[in-house]
């Protein structure tokens, strides 16, 4: 993938996201994490290559089909992208409203979700009055409220304290147990270590996929030298 006539930001990528899987995406700044996420949540088209969603080739999707596909994907942006003229409640309810659901049908669900992320008392304020961490929680609530089949989160714990970070990770894990495919892009290796999940590591536009810790340990027991080398690579801190 490249932007305009610029250099390739991503190349030779080939991976599969199994339904119901949990993946971390790591890599230094500029490695192409955001570009890869943009490809996954249909905000950009690959300059070459093929992306398939739920068995459908993205290139074959019509303009009318794309919004329906996007509704199956929840996204948490690093910069939140909240609508500052709407209340916290209406920001979170946005995907449901766009999907055509009636306010009285989703009001309780949205209120419950906001209470769960600790914003039950701030439903009717506008995001601009919230702290960065609170805005991040609103963005997460908006991404998960429609119970998407895929949840993509770009640095979802970057602006929250460790305790809230743990809580949000538990939320993602719960959603994953319910069948949602999760991709979390993060610099935070402590977050990565909390879950036994595969790690997609981007470097210079190339992707390297590391197996979950449990799988690596199983391999270590079988071939100790190779596993040690991989673990050492895993422990190398990202930027």
């Amino acid at each position: 993938m490249r932007y305009g006539h610029g250099p390739e930001v991503l190349r030779d990528l080939s991976f599969d996201l199994p339904r119901g899987s949990f993946q971390f995406l790591t890599g230094p700044s500029g490695a192409g994490k955001t570009s890869l996420l943009r490809l996954i949540y249909l905000a950009a088209k690959p300059s070459s290559g093929r992306i398939s969603y739920f068995g459908r080739d993205a290139a074959e999707l019509t303009r009318k089909e794309m919004p329906l596909l996007r509704r199956r994907i929840g996204v948490v942006f690093q910069e939140f992208r909240l609508l500052n003229h709407l209340s916290v409640f209406d920001n979170v309810a946005l995907p449901l409203r766009i999907a055509g659901r009636r306010r009285q049908d989703y009001a309780e669900d949205v209120a419950e979700l906001l209470a769960w992320v600790g914003l039950g008392e701030k439903m009717d304020v506008v995001p601009a009055t919230l702290s960065g961490g609170e805005q991040q929680r609103v963005a997460i609530a908006r991404a998960v409220v429609g119970q998407p089949e895929i949840l993509i989160a770009d640095e979802p714990t970057g602006n929250v304290d460790p305790e809230m970070g743990m809580r949000l990770l538990r939320l993602f894990a719960e959603l994953n147990k319910l069948g949602t495919t999760i991709i979390i892009a993060t610099h935070d290796l402590s977050l990565v270590r909390m879950l036994d999940a595969p790690v997609m590591s981007l470097s210079n536009g190339h992707l390297h996929i590391r197996a979950p810790r449990s799988q690596r340990q199983a391999q270590a027991n079988a071939a100790p030298e190779e596993a040690a080398a991989e673990t050492a690579a895993m422990e190398t801190p990202d930027e």
């Binding site: 919004p67 329906l68 003229h85």
Partner: protein, 301 residues
């Protein structure tokens, strides 16, 4: 868990777009001026058409018999004879023979009063009022006058009525052309403004798209926003046009109404025009905004 769900935002679905915060105000003014000019053009065309109707009606409801002076004959007696003959022809309601003083009065604007020698022969006029329910009797009247041996000619004003009708049609066409041109200008201005509005709110549009909004959903938001703007601008423009038309018509009767000035007679056409103008302005703005935004979105994603 708190059950204190906030009330829905005012403005319905349109509230998903941020408030205009004054950005749309210049557009409101431009749209109001365009609607004002379009209404003035339409009312002017209507005024021209009504005036032409009055004139052609006057011309077609009467004809004139001209009695040419003939040596050794009394023109006044011939004029009275022509009036009597005219009354026998079907389709004529009245006939009035005018005397030499009337003919001199007609010439006074060009020749002045009292400058004509008494022995200068002048044609006399017989004014004939026609029954509008019957066909014009010009040819039958001419034949009757010829049969009576009078040196008279009938002028049925058709030449003038045709010219007036052509002038009215031209005025109407011009008025309607101006109205359509102004509507086109309004549509173009709104399309431009809608694209600018979309560009200014691209972050919001981006968020809506990522949440699964269809192009038509986003275009619908702009459509509603610009419909309301066009409607309000239309109300302002039409109200001003109505006021100007009333002021222009004050002191003018239908007969002395100036050609192509906006006319106000409180008739259904004028009321309908001023009531419809805001709705049409709103619809034009809405359609224009929807098409512009939909086209822009197709180019972006």
């Amino acid at each position: 868990m708190s059950n204190r769900v906030p009330p829905p935002p005012a403005g319905g679905a349109g509230a998903l777009l941020p408030p205009d915060s004054g950005r749309d105000r210049p557009l409101f003014v431009v749209a109001a001026i365009l609607v004002f000019l379009a209404c003035i053009a339409a009312l002017g065309a209507r005024g021209a058409w009504l005036q032409a109707q009055n004139w052609t009606s006057d011309l077609e409801s009467s004809i004139t018999i001209q009695i040419r002076p003939v040596e050794l004959r009394d023109a006044q007696l011939d004029a009275e004879e022509a009036a009597r003959i005219a009354l026998t022809v079907p389709g004529i309601l009245s006939a009035t023979a005018h005397d030499r003083a009337h003919a001199e009065a007609l010439l006074a604007p060009w020749l002045g009063s009292g400058n004509l020698p008494d022995d200068l022969p002048l044609p006399l006029m017989v004014e004939v009022q026609l029954d509008p329910q019957l066909p014009p009797p010009g040819d039958a009247l001419q034949a009757a006058l010829d049969a009576a041996g009078l040196s008279a000619s009938v002028d049925d004003n058709s030449r003038w009525a045709g010219a007036v009708r052509r002038a009215a049609r031209t005025a109407q066409t011009l008025g309607l052309a101006m109205m359509f041109l102004l509507a086109g200008a309004a549509a173009a201005v709104v399309a431009f403004a809608a694209r600018a509005s979309l560009a200014a709110r691209i972050n919001v549009i981006d968020a809506l798209h990522i949440c699964g909004a269809e192009d038509r959903f986003v275009a619908g938001l702009f459509e509603r926003r610009f419909f309301m703007l066009g409607l309000k601008a239309g109300i302002a423009g039409a109200a001003c046009a109505g006021l100007v038309a009333v002021l222009a018509s004050l002191g003018q009767g239908p007969a002395d109404m100036a050609f192509f000035l906006p006319h106000w007679a409180m008739d259904p056409f004028e009321l309908a025009l001023l009531l419809l103008a805001p709705v049409l302005a709103g619809a034009t703005a809405a359609i224009s905004a929807r098409l512009a935004v939909a086209s822009d979105l197709r180019g972006r994603w």
